[in-house]
């Protein structure tokens, strides 16, 4: 019933409403688009970056706003109602549209529809006046100008980015030459064939990059991308070389308890594989001696038996298990051979470890080369945070306070040792100082602390060990971070004593000469690493604001990563 002319009119109104809504959106976003275009032109003129995103942003906005307007389009009835409102037609069109959809319209509805259809041509003629499409002056100009600029190529991105200037190319070439020299010096004796091939490939890529750095027209993004790829390759190789199977903590703890194996345990714990190899060789020689006393053999057999009981399957664990089996069979020479084999393995692993560290440092240099290429180094410039340029770490008073033992505990413990009240506090470690309280209790009842250990007189006397050279554990010296270690001295004997009747074994460690002059059992970076860990743990517990905590944790995480490298 007269639906066709009404439908056509409704579509016309809907179309005008859609275009009007889209134009209003453009007008609302005019200044944003103008600002984006101006920024793109400025960026392009300055030659700093690639403004490809501008073209996408403008095109995306035009298309996206059109889609958004289309999705929220009014229905045909709503379009007619809007027309009614704009023209003051008292809902004549809306009513007519509704009546035209009905079959049961009465005579008044039919009359209304007839009258509306009769007047429709006149109203259609005035539609453009009633629903005008006012094109805002800048609303369309801005996106059209942006499209024009993009189309004309003014904003077209430069392939490969802005080329490097001559000075930057020279700096890059110099950096590349230095890196290439460092790459050539990398040791590869301990590497297997696959690793050697990878190292050689890396060297080759670095040499190619060195040649490429001399070419004119090399873009900054391209150069930075190349450096990044090389750094990634170097990091992958470093990770491969550093991937050695470490001995378990249980094995190390057991080895650390015995005078003959304590040095080996300390070196393994500090991940100093070269020193560990030396200690393994020393043990091999000790076992291979003709004049090995029965007492020494029994002591070693006891130590190795306990260590082997840890079930460690690392190369160290396997060597110790083999040596233990030989000693149990009373074949100390075979045991010595096992340790000799272990020494060789550790020496090779140490060399791989050293090579891995150097490759890691090479990766750092490659990453730093990008920054140095873009800006010449100047005094006061920010430097990459590495172990070599880290400022000396000062242990804060709070951290020191946090390490103070409770009354009756060990006077001073190295960071990372078992906590107060744990194993170290109750069981006397060979050569370690029993606490004053424990010593007193032992003197009184002989039940808990065991007897005073020779060589630990100062601790037993209740004096604080903070100022004692050598630290709190005999055979495990102490030194402040980044300070020269004290001279290491070997422990000479392990003896077994009864701490108290019916209370099991206690052990003590005897140190000849001055007590506590040994070298640190920890690597120089272990202490700050442990401190960082402690700080991170403390941050989780302290009621810091969440945002602040994340910020501080991020700092410590970065610091720890740098230290670990």
């Amino acid at each position: 019933m007269g639906a066709t002319p009404l439908r056509a009119a409704a579509f016309a109104a809907q179309r005008r409403l859609l275009i009007g809504a889209w134009l209003r959106l453009q007008r609302a976003a005019t200044w944003w688009i103008l600002a984006a275009v101006a920024l793109a032109v400025l960026v392009r003129c300055a030659g700093v970056g690639v403004p490809a995103w501008v073209a996408w942003a403008v095109g995306g906005w035009l298309l996206g706003s059109a889609i958004w307007v289309w999705r929220g389009r009014p229905s045909l009835a709503a379009a007619l109602a809007a027309w009614d409102r704009a023209a003051g037609l008292d809902d004549a069109l809306l009513n007519a549209w509704d009546f035209s959809q009905r079959d049961d319209a009465g005579r008044f509805a039919r009359a209304h529809l007839d009258l509306t259809l009769a007047q429709m041509p006149a109203w259609r003629a005035e539609l453009s006046r009633i629903l005008p499409l006012r094109v805002p002056p800048l609303g369309l100009i801005a996106p059209l100008a942006a499209l024009l600029l993009v189309g004309s190529g003014t904003l077209t991105p430069v392939a490969g980015g802005v080329p490097l200037d001559r000075a930057a190319r020279e700096r890059l070439a110099a950096q590349a030459a230095e890196v290439a020299r460092a790459a050539e010096r990398l040791p590869d004796a301990a590497l297997d064939q696959a690793e050697k091939a990878k190292l050689e490939e890396l060297r080759k890529r670095i040499r190619e990059a060195q040649e490429k750095a001399k070419e004119e027209g090399l873009g900054r993004p391209e150069a930075l991308r190349e450096l990044d790829q090389l750094a990634r390759r170097a990091e992958e190789l470093a990770a491969l070389l550093n991937d050695t199977q470490a001995a378990s903590a249980a094995l190390l703890a057991e080895l650390e308890r015995h005078a003959d194996t304590a040095e080996l345990a300390a070196a393994l714990k500090a991940a100093d594989l070269i020193k560990a190899a030396t200690e393994a060789d020393a043990l091999a020689k000790q076992l291979d001696r003709q004049d090995l006393t029965l007492d020494e053999q029994r002591r070693l057999a006891q130590a190795l038996e306990r260590a082997a009981a840890s079930g460690d399957r690392s190369p160290t664990g396997q060597a110790i298990a083999a040596a233990n089996a030989a000693l149990q069979a009373n074949d100390h020479r075979a045991a010595g051979a096992s340790f000799q084999k272990l020494g060789a393995q550790l020496a090779r692993a140490g060399q791989r470890q050293l090579a891995g560290r150097q490759v890691g440092a090479l990766a750092d240099r490659l990453r730093a080369s990008g920054g140095r290429m873009l800006a010449p180094a100047a005094p006061g410039d920010a430097r990459t945070l590495t172990l070599s340029n880290l400022p000396p770490l000062r242990i804060p008073p709070s951290a020191r306070a946090g390490q103070q033992p409770p009354p009756g505990g060990v006077a001073r413990r190295a960071v990372g040792n078992p906590p107060p009240g744990g194993h170290a506090a109750n069981i006397p470690v060979p050569g370690s100082a029993p606490a004053a309280g424990a010593a007193g209790a032992a003197g009184a009842s002989g039940a808990d602390g065991g007897i005073p250990v020779p060589g630990t007189g100062m601790a037993a006397a209740g004096l604080a060990l903070a100022s004692v050279p050598g630290g709190s554990r005999a055979g495990h010296g102490h030194s402040d971070a980044n300070q020269a270690p004290t001279t290491a001295r070997a422990a000479t004997a392990t003896s077994t004593v009864d701490a108290a009747k019916g209370n099991g074994e206690s052990e003590q460690r005897q140190v000849a000469g001055q007590a506590h002059q040994e070298g640190s059992a920890l690597a120089a970076e272990a202490t700050p690493l442990a401190l960082v860990d402690a700080e991170e743990r403390a941050l989780d517990a302290d009621p810091l604001p969440a945002a602040r905590r994340e910020q501080v944790k991020a700092y410590f995480s970065l610091l720890r990563r740098q230290l670990e490298h």
Binding site: N95, F99, F108
Partner: protein, 354 residues
Amino acid sequence: MNLPSAQVASGKESGAAAPAADLAAAPEVVIARFQSRLAALRAEIAKGIIGNDGLINDCLVALFIQGHVLIEGVPGLGKTSLVRVLSRVLGLSFGRVQCTPDLMPADILGTHIVHEDEHGRRNLRFERGPVFRHLLLVDEINRATPKTQAALLEVMQERQVTAGAECLPLPAPFFVLATQNPVEMEGTYPLPEAQLDRFAFKLMVRFPAREDLVAIAQRTSGYTEPDLQPVMDGAEIIALTRLAAEVAISQPLAHYAADLVLATHPDQPHAPASVKRLVAYGASPRALQTIIRAARIHALLAGRSAVAAADVRRVAKPALRHRIIRNFEGDAEGVDADTLVDEILAEVPAPGQG
């Protein structure tokens, strides 16, 4: 969309010539006749009532939808005069009840009395009360006790009186025009919600403007009543009421009216915040019926054959203001029902507004 002026003019002439002529003619003709009859009615009313055009218009709309009207205003504003004038120009019988606390239902409805016939036999006969008139003025209705107010319930809704086992229909058309004084609240009994809902409109009588006061002073300070002539009769009112029911209303506008009524309910999600906070109960479906019927009359008055959103908005306030029951907070803040209706009208989008 108004009808062409030529058609209106012709319709006016034909309507004036034949007031109760056949209303089955073409819609534009009957609409024009309706307009002309209303114009004649207004002109006659204007002889007796000065000013208050809006109030008169709303009263006439209520008459043509056969709805009852509650008129509220301070004394002396011409409420009773308006009803009296209406009865005379409409040619309807007129009854009046002045409500007081001791007024009894029988005083309004009538009662059985002992009657002695010519043979000396006595029997009970129902003596009809003032309610058996076309137009009943219930003056100061809130002074009557709830018992007496309740007596009006059946009368207003069923248009009949039940006396004993007998149901007595009221004459058609039947209208109740009740007045109440909002100032003197002592010794009054506020109308219960059920009874308020039976009034189609609640109209507020405003104080006359200065020009109207001057006209009142010049024209009505004598002792002679204006000579008012009946312009319509009950049959024509009923016929015009049936005609109005034919005015078309589209689905979007019916939805709009329903949305307005729903928005008076605080538990509706689209109700304005003030309604949710200050209103205890909203309008009933009877309010929606009233709005639609009254909007049709306004469409006819505007010369249209279909209802527009403006017609719905025009009748929303008189149809809703007495049906919005405020809660304790609303009463405490003294919020006006008209303010709430204004907010509803502002927040509920009309077709093409959303």
